[in-house]
């Protein structure tokens, strides 16, 4: 079992509690993320509307239940995050293994593409592409995935470079194993655990990225809620009803910090997060 310090335990438990809420809330009797109520606009936390409906976490300008919207937004974010992480994991591992195993011009081309992608700020690339293809949940997952393969690719390539010279790979090769066999049977299983660590870190990054796009109005589109969009809606009522912007922010914080601590607990040390680094 991993060793966790107190802070890690706290954040990870908070994350677990929030995920439990996200799953349970849709089954509660008051669950209604879309229903508007003119008698219950901007109800504070724990307040009730004029027609007597209770809002546990208050309501927004249109009288929609914030708790329900937070839960649904969390599900949407998680779904997009999982989709994007799967896409980037598959693309990144594949390109990284191929680059590391075959070396030569193929490697130069793949790593060149990685460098190029890092030289355009990711938010800008996403804004440009999502402005052009139009944002939808599936597009978002795909776009976020295709723009975040670089971390996986770099780590996978780095590991492959040393793995391919190890005896078990060399011996397989002398016995006539094909490249595809070697990559699938010998390299992939050795690289995968590291990749999952990168994924746990990247998941948080993708949630932030999706929230930022949604905040800018370029991510999840209404009527579907998203934490980023809810913050943006709350910005106009900051003085009047600060909980509109604060509650989704807290949800984002718990999600991102929880994932961050979790991935840090997985890695004892060393930078496998693929933070922007230059290949020489």
């Amino acid at each position: 079992m991993m060793r966790m310090d107190l802070g890690t335990k706290l954040m990870v438990s908070l994350l677990a509690i929030m995920i439990a809420f996200m799953i349970v809330t849709p089954f509660l009797p008051f669950y209604d993320p879309y229903g508007q109520n003119l008698a219950g606009s901007l109800v504070p936390i724990g307040g009730a509307s004029f027609d007597g409906r209770l809002y546990l976490l208050g309501s927004d300008t249109l009288g929609r239940d914030i708790l329900s919207r937070l839960a649904l937004a969390g599900q949407v974010s998680t779904l997009i995050g999982l989709g994007a992480v799967s896409v980037s994991l598959v693309v990144g591992v594949f390109l990284g293994l191929v680059a590391g195993y075959f070396r030569g011009p193929l490697e130069a081309a793949i790593m060149g593409l990685a460098d190029l992608q890092l030289s355009i700020p990711r938010v800008l690339l996403l804004i440009a592409v999502s402005a052009i293809v139009g944002p939808s949940v599936a597009n978002l997952a795909l776009l976020l995935g295709l723009t975040s393969w670089v971390s996986y690719g770099r780590v996978a390539r780095g590991m492959t470079l040393s793995l391919r010279e190890r005896e078990f790979v060399l011996s397989a090769r002398t016995q006539g194993a094909t490249a595809a066999w070697n990559i699938r049977k010998h390299l992939l299983p050795n690289v995968l655990p590291q990749m999952l660590i990168v994924a746990s870190y990247e998941f948080g990054q993708i949630v932030v990225m999706e929230a930022s796009l949604s905040y800018l109005g370029l991510g999840v589109q209404p009527p579907l809620p998203s934490w980023g969009m809810m913050v943006s809606e709350g910005q106009s009522y900051l003085a009047l009803a600060p909980h509109l912007a604060i509650l989704p922010s807290i949800a984002l914080f718990i999600m991102v910090a929880g994932l961050q601590f979790l991935s840090q607990a997985f890695t004892s040390e060393g930078d496998v997060t693929g933070a922007p680094q230059r290949t020489p």
């Binding site: 802070g7 060149g112 460098d115 190029l116 890092l118 030289s119 355009i120 700020p121 990711r122 938010v123 800008l124 690339l125 804004i127 440009a128 592409v129 402005a131 052009i132 293809v133 948080g204 932030v208 929230a211 930022s212 905040y215 800018l216 109005g217 370029l218 980023g228 913050v231 943006s232 709350g234 910005q235 900051l238 003085a239 600060p242 912007a245 604060i246 989704p248 922010s249 984002l252 914080f253 991102v256 910090a257 961050q260 933070a275 922007p276 680094q277 230059r278 020489p280």
Partner: protein, 305 residues
């Protein structure tokens, strides 16, 4: 040294060409520029005429080379909304974005410097942990949430600072604090690690042996060496910073390139979007090049590589 220069400059040129190529495909993805330039009532004949006028009936390769040529002159077409060259609109906004980015950069490095030294000098383990916790916590709050928190505290409740716009230094405080602290945890960890590794160097032992005090050794001997990697990483992370300006500018209504891009997206003004993205990427590439070359000057060991 010259070798390093040439290699890095070639790399940068390749990157810029790559960005232009990406921009070309993005423009294609956006749809037929002839259709985008016309109103919805245009006939097929009108579209054909505009296609000829814009040179869209030429072979793709010719169009690509033409696009490249224009791009190298900063010409990404005319704004679909305002009918002036898109690049002019973007260039107008550059000073505001640079002001924000450079101030945030300075705030980030400055805070990391001060807190890093404080963490090194304090004997209190708790204080060190608290500083690190705050930096890590800050990192887990997205820029827009943190920005709104700043507005809520300093503009709405305390009424100390303006919440939006650009003008006086007071307008700059909240945006720079929001953007500059985002990477603080990374910088702090970095400066701690490099201070720890400098601690083991011979020159530090020599300095102590000469009888110099702890503070003097730290500030005069170790810090200049420890700051070098910090500046490099910060330079590389400038991409994150420049990307962060987009969100920060939107939160604080800061009239920079990022906000222009976001506004242009809602107006579907593609030439402006592409010009903005290209220019920010170009800034990023150039600044990185400068940082790398400076690094070669500052650290003789790099030149040999």
């Amino acid at each position: 040294m010259l070798n390093l220069f040439l290699k890095r400059i070639t790399q940068s040129v390749m990157t810029v060409l790559g960005v232009v190529t990406a921009a070309f495909f993005l423009v294609r993805l956006a749809g037929d520029p002839a259709v985008l330039n016309l109103s919805a009532e245009a006939t097929a004949e009108d579209i054909e005429r505009v296609r000829t006028a814009l040179g869209l009936n030429r072979p793709l390769l010719v169009q690509y080379l033409d696009f490249m040529w224009r791009a190298l002159h900063g010409d990404f077409g005319v704004s679909l909304r305002q009918n002036i060259p898109a690049m002019d609109l973007v260039v107008e906004r550059i000073p505001a974005t640079l002001e924000l980015a450079l101030t945030s950069f300075a705030v980030g490095i400055g805070l990391a410097f001060v807190l890093g030294v404080a963490m090194r000098m304090t004997p209190s383990r708790t204080l060190r942990q608290v500083i690190m916790w705050i930096a890590l916590g800050r990192q887990a709050i997205p820029i827009f949430s943190f920005g709104l928190l700043m507005i809520l505290i300093f503009s709405v409740w305390l009424r100390w600072l303006p919440s939006l716009g650009r003008g006086t230094w007071a307008h700059l405080v909240l945006p720079a604090l929001t953007l500059g602290t985002y990477e603080l945890a990374l910088y702090l960890r970095l400066i701690n690690a490099s201070l720890a590794s400098e601690q083991r160097q011979d020159y530090v032992r020599t300095a102590y042996a000469k009888g110099q005090g702890h503070i003097k050794v730290l500030l005069k001997h170790m810090l200049p060496n420890a700051l070098l990697p910090l500046v490099t990483v910060a330079g590389i992370n400038l991409g994150l910073l420049l990307g962060g300006t987009v969100v920060t500018e939107t939160v604080f209504s800061w009239p920079g390139v990022g906000r222009l891009i976001v506004e242009s997206v809602s107006q579907r003004d593609f030439p402006v979007i592409i010009s903005g993205v290209f220019l920010i990427s170009l800034m990023f590439v150039v600044i990185n090049l400068i940082v790398d070359i400076l690094y070669g000057f500052l650290d003789p060991r790099v030149r040999a590589a």
